[in-house]
């Protein structure tokens, strides 16, 4: 059986053992870090740690939204496409001389809008989330290619661009900005899931849709809400990526949905819904991020990287199973 991940309201003074039981994936992460840092001394340099955080932030932020969706028993395949279109819109606004605030806001509104649409067709149309978001994924990718004419939208090197670039490339108190955004996102998500009605309803829906309905709750509303969150967070990831590259790529985010889902599952959340913790997701994302970084640092050739990555993911989830 899965871990009883949401019953922690009682104990405030967590000891380490409890922490381990709750976040078994943490063991995997620690092991991974230990092994790699023995193999390569440069791995644990603060610079590299910041690299990892910066690289992980995109996937982690998307995965945070994905956690909400998966907790309800759904899935969102359109995250990568949302990232691309909101990045493109942001870049084109900035390129046309609009302010950063407007670019960012427009992005987020688009992300929220698409997410809302996902939730709407899934709930009102009673569609399977897999197929509904597969469709929006395709439509949005086409839309982005039309919008950008298949070419990157570049911000150039105006002052505006340089300022905007700080979102993805800058630092605050010498910590990479995207890492700070990531931490903020997770803190807010954790709070919502634990302490607000919508958070509890997210678990409720995934745990038993029928019972949730019979309790007088609108399951449609809960669905719309989680896909909207996922859309907004994908848009935020899109802004960060655009800022890092000083340009928006029409193909950005392709395949990111699988990485995000993998992070969620590695973090111990069940794809059948109702069970899991957002704290696990950030660990899952870090496992994937550390792995990619480590394989590069250790000079593993790219073909073997794939094999190692797959095997490590398998081992991680198996460990998670076994420790139950």
């Amino acid at each position: 059986m899965q871990s009883n991940c949401i019953q922690d309201t009682k104990s405030k003074n967590l000891d380490i053992k409890e922490l381990l039981v709750k976040y078994k994936s943490l063991v995997g992460l620690v092991l991974l870090v230990a092994v790699v840092s023995i193999l390569s001394p440069s791995f644990l340099s603060s610079k590299n740690i910041f690299n990892i955080l910066r690289q992980t932030s995109i996937n982690a932020i998307i995965a945070a939204g994905m956690t909400f969706v998966i907790l309800t028993g759904g899935i969102d395949l359109s995250v990568g496409s949302i990232l691309a279109i909101s990045g493109a819109v942001c870049a084109s606004l900035l390129a046309s001389g609009q302010s950063i605030a407007i670019g960012v806001l427009a992005s987020i509104i688009i992300g929220a809008g698409v997410g809302f649409l996902n939730g709407f067709i899934i709930s009102k149309g009673k569609l399977q989330p897999f197929i509904a978001t597969l469709a929006t994924m395709t439509v949005l990718r086409g839309l982005t290619l039309v919008f950008t004419d298949g070419k990157p939208i570049t911000l150039g090197s105006s002052d505006l661009a340089i300022n905007f670039g700080k979102i993805g490339g800058g630092e605050i108190l010498s910590i990479p900005t995207p890492a700070i955004i990531m931490i903020l996102v997770f803190a807010v998500c954790a709070y919502i899931l634990k302490n607000t009605k919508m958070g509890r309803y997210t678990y409720a829906l995934g745990s038993n849709e029928e019972a949730t309905k019979l309790s007088g709750l609108s399951t449609d509303k809960i669905k719309i809400w989680v896909y909207t969150i996922s859309g907004v967070l994908s848009a935020i990831a899109g802004i960060i990526i655009t800022s890092r590259l000083y340009s928006a790529q029409p193909t950005a985010g392709t395949g990111y949905e699988l990485d995000a889902i993998a992070a969620v599952v590695l973090g111990g959340t069940s794809l059948t819904g109702g069970k899991g913790k957002i704290g696990g997701t950030i660990i899952g994302a870090l496992i994937i991020g550390v792995l990619s970084n480590a394989l590069n640092i250790l000079d593993v050739s790219s073909y073997y990287q794939m094999m190692v990555k797959g095997v490590v993911i398998l081992i991680a989830v198996l460990l998670d199973r076994k420790s139950n």
Binding site: T154, N296, I297
Partner: protein, 276 residues
């Protein structure tokens, strides 16, 4: 098939339209065709050879007069070309060749030569000594193979050491993170050869962030962004393919075929090195 009385039609099957290079190539084809009074039908193979074959089948039931094929892969393109051959549809390959079947002509720049061009440039700049990183394109694509082969052949005559060679899938985002990671273990890099500009631009960002602005980055394609970057002195050079010109040249060849002129079986398009 009954042919329209009106303009003649050219079919263009392009490996992907998710890459600015091919968007330019398509633009070249369309512009020249308009100028010469041809209609163009464009099909996108989305980097999947199987889709390319389907596209060739689909186009063969339409009344096109000739096909310009930009294959995903040179070997699997044989299948597409054979389908055209069976339907008596003339084919000209563009940018990437087909390794079999009956093709009227091949219009492209020479990727092996381009790879060598990059190598020569770096050998010149670095006095044949130094540590080199190579960022490869999509594993298995012919551009990856040919540029890699040309480049590595080129640096054989030097004391260059290829300290890292990793794939970043012709993708800018991947170019960035792969480079960031490489920097972690290798801090004495002298130059980076990226097999296209997208990866080069990503790598350049990583180097800039790590304050390694002296590293020479050479890309391939000469896309707008890359040329801009070379001009600003951020990238050292890019091997200019001229995708628009490739497209236009291909339509010229088509025109010659349709008016009954003979054409060469290889029509090279100039490559040039763009530096500051």
């Amino acid at each position: 098939t009954t042919k329209d009385s009106g303009a003649k039609k050219i079919g263009l099957i392009v490996s992907t339209l998710n890459n600015p290079f091919f968007v330019d190539l398509k633009t070249g084809v369309e512009n020249k065709a308009k100028e010469l009074g041809y209609e163009v039908v464009v099909l996108d193979s989305q980097n999947d050879p199987a889709k390319e074959v389907s596209n060739m089948e689909d186009i063969s039931v339409k009344n096109v007069d000739i096909v310009l094929l930009n294959p995903v892969d040179s070997d699997s393109a044989i299948a597409s070309v054979m389908i055209a051959n069976n339907n008596d549809l003339p084919v000209i390959t563009v940018d990437r060749a087909a390794n079999g079947g009956k093709v009227l002509s091949h219009v492209a720049s020479d990727n092996i030569a381009g790879g060598k061009m990059a190598a020569d440039f770096l050998m010149d700049k670095l006095n044949k000594k130094g540590n080199i990183v190579e960022l490869e394109g999509i594993a298995g694509s012919s551009a990856t193979r040919d540029r890699g082969a040309g480049f590595e052949k080129g640096i054989k005559k030097s004391e260059f050491e290829l300290v890292a060679k990793q794939s970043a899938d012709f993708d800018r985002t991947k170019g960035l993170s792969v480079m960031e990671n490489i920097i972690q273990s290798k801090d004495n890099i002298d130059a980076v050869f990226a097999q296209n500009d997208e990866m080069a631009l990503g790598a350049q960002k990583a180097l800039e962030a790590a304050n390694m602005k002296n590293v020479l980055v050479v890309g391939f394609d000469a896309t707008e962004d890359a040329v801009e970057s070379v001009k600003k002195g951020k990238m050292a050079a890019t091997v200019a393919q001229q995708p628009i010109l490739i497209g236009e040249t291909a339509v010229d060849a088509v025109h010659n075929v349709l008016i009954g002129k003979d054409i060469d079986n290889y029509i090279p398009v100039e490559l040039k090195l763009i530096t500051k």
